[in-house]
């Protein structure tokens, strides 16, 4: 299983903060997982997840789309950060 998290504006746009995706070869990379989520949920998710400034983390480290995923990984999608 993969644990998927969404934060802030992205969480509000998608209407979900957390979901699980069964692990398979189709979601063995971050890009693969993103395509899978878009295929499942449609146009709104495509716009939100493919937006130019979306950030992604795997196991709480920032990650690029070609990052490999393993079963049990925690994956997060979020907008640019604005703390401090």
């Amino acid at each position: 299983m993969l644990e998927i998290l969404f934060f802030a504006r992205l969480r509000e746009q998608l209407g979900v903060g957390r979901l699980q995706v069964p692990y398979s070869d189709a979601v063995a990379t971050l890009a693969g997982l993103q395509d899978h989520l878009i295929a499942e949920h449609g146009e709104l998710w495509a716009q939100a997840l493919q937006a130019e400034n979306v950030l992604r983390a795997v196991n709480q480290d920032m990650a690029a789309l070609d990052s490999a995923l393993a079963a049990g990984d925690e994956v997060a999608f979020f907008p640019p950060v604005t703390g401090g």
Binding site: A57, Q60, D61, A63, A76, F78, V81, T82, G83, G84
Partner: protein, 155 residues
């Protein structure tokens, strides 16, 4: 040195107490600190409430890493980072970064370095509730430029 502490919390913090912890060594000559407050105005909007969301776990981890990096770049004795989350009103304290060192140049540089990180890389998000409705705060280009001063940082 390795007296590094980060706390993500909803409750307010006590600057005097944090500073006492930072100055507990008698070889400390310099404490540089930064406190961020909720402003009542942001780009001319009146802010009623600021809501701060974060990514629990990743926030603490990423700040621990940046404190460790600061400790390698400069001669430091202690760092304290406190960042509040939840609903905050104008005038309330949001964030504190305090750095203790033998000398002031290192303390100032490390304090700015950690603050620039918090502004641009640590997973916090601000939503403003204003007279004109609520909206997420946009990232500031000037913050990105501040952060780029320091060269490559850990991801």
């Amino acid at each position: 040195m390795n007296d590094l502490k980060v706390s993500i919390q909803t409750q307010d913090f006590d600057v005097a107490q944090l500073q006492r912890e930072l100055g507990s060594l008698d070889t400390t000559g310099a404490i540089a600190s930064f406190t961020g407050l909720v402003r009542s105005n942001n780009a001319d909007r009146q802010v009623a409430v600021m809501e701060l969301e974060h990514y629990p776990g990743m926030t603490e981890r990423s700040i621990e890493k940046i404190m460790a990096e600061a400790s390698q770049r400069w001669q430091l004795q202690a760092i304290r980072v406190v960042h509040r989350v939840g609903a905050l009103r104008p005038g309330e304290q949001i964030v504190y970064v305090g750095v203790a060192s033998g000398h002031r140049g290192d303390a100032f540089a490390a304090c700015e370095f950690v603050m620039d990180y918090l502004k641009t890389r640590a997973p916090f998000w601000k939503k403003e509730l204003t007279s004109a409705g609520e909206h997420w705060v946009e990232e500031r280009t000037s913050d990105q430029h501040s952060a780029q001063r320091w060269g490559a940082s850990p991801k």
